[in-house]
Symmetry: C2
Subunit: 200 residues, 2 copies
């Protein structure tokens, strides 16, 4: 029954699929949905273009799979500090936002970059981006006091988006080789100002 030649069929298939997804993420992140062709993805993954279609059905589905959040770990904001301490909660949310800045490059952020790259020109990517940003806005808004918490949360999220776009996607010279802590240090008072809390 079992083939002693190792590499069960399912395992081999799984690895090929992963290789295709990696290649797709990389190409989508680099040049966006339109310019990243199935053929180029296949070549990068060293498989036949038809195989990509066989596995994923369509380019659109491949994109969804490549972009979909492996939102597994780290997400939970496990019970903040004392619920009564609004100031601490606000500071924590600022630090959480600043911490999301780096995404270290590569790693699991490749899928996020792919989404961001295409969000302005590909309708489905725009939907994903709105959802992702909306969730982030929700989380931030929870920690903010006041009437216009959601608006402030949205602006804070967009500040980070702008910096990420300029840094990771447009690769502006001004941010090249600037350590993330430096950026975070300059941004921190700016984000605090948006919380509407006493900047202290």
């Amino acid at each position: 029954m079992g083939e002693e030649t190792a590499l069960p069929r399912a395992e081999r298939r799984r690895r090929t699929e992963a290789r295709i997804l990696d290649a797709a993420r990389s190409l989508f992140a680099d040049m966006g949905y339109e310019r990243a062709t199935i053929r180029a993805v296949a070549k990068a993954a060293e498989v036949d273009p038809a195989l990509v279609m066989q596995y994923f059905g369509s380019k659109q589905e491949l994109f969804q799979r490549a972009v979909e959040v492996t939102s597994a770990p780290g997400g939970g904001q496990a019970g903040g500090p004392d619920p009564g301490d609004a100031q601490a909660a606000v500071e924590e949310v600022v630090e959480r936002l600043l911490g999301s800045l780096p995404m270290k490059l590569g790693e699991l952020s490749q899928s996020r970059l792919a989404m961001l790259r295409s969000m302005l020109t590909h309708p489905e990517a725009a939907v994903s981006a709105r959802r992702a940003l909306g969730e982030q806005i929700d989380r931030v808004a929870e920690a903010l006091p006041g009437e216009d918490a959601r608006l402030r949360a949205a602006l804070m999220t967009l500040v980070l988006l702008g910096v990420t776009v300029g840094h990771q996607l447009l690769e502006l010279d001004e941010l090249r080789d600037v350590p993330e802590e430096e950026i975070a240090r300059l941004l921190r008072p700016s984000l605090r100002a948006l919380t509407g809390q006493d900047p202290r």
Copy 2:
């Protein structure tokens, strides 16, 4: 000699060209470089697709023309206040940035939106965007004191970029129907914090 039938050939040509450019700006702004096809532009301008090519040579040149800054008026920051008054200069630069927020929609900003829409996925648009952002960063940096003026100026510019993207391009619900003065009011302290000046 002159035809009494009015509409000189040159004038007619000029108007047709303008109509094509308007249609192109609108389509590029709405769906980006790749998805805005020559055929669609021609249809929107009510001309033959071949005529578009005849007038502009290629899609790329049409894009350049559609995006190119009609940077004529309003640009000059006619001599700021007392050069010695750094604080006033900083406040002025913040107000200038905030004033660039609205672009009122439509009007002359259509070309700017077209550039922003495609900047992440179309190489030429990225070049234009880097240049435009770089110029803005230069102007802001001039008014800022300190060692890291350019970095701060870049971050301030990217804050505005992020808000513009979220508002005009992604059309986030959270910013829908929010008057520009409200956004400016919330953003002002945030930008001041980035200037490195005493927020006072």
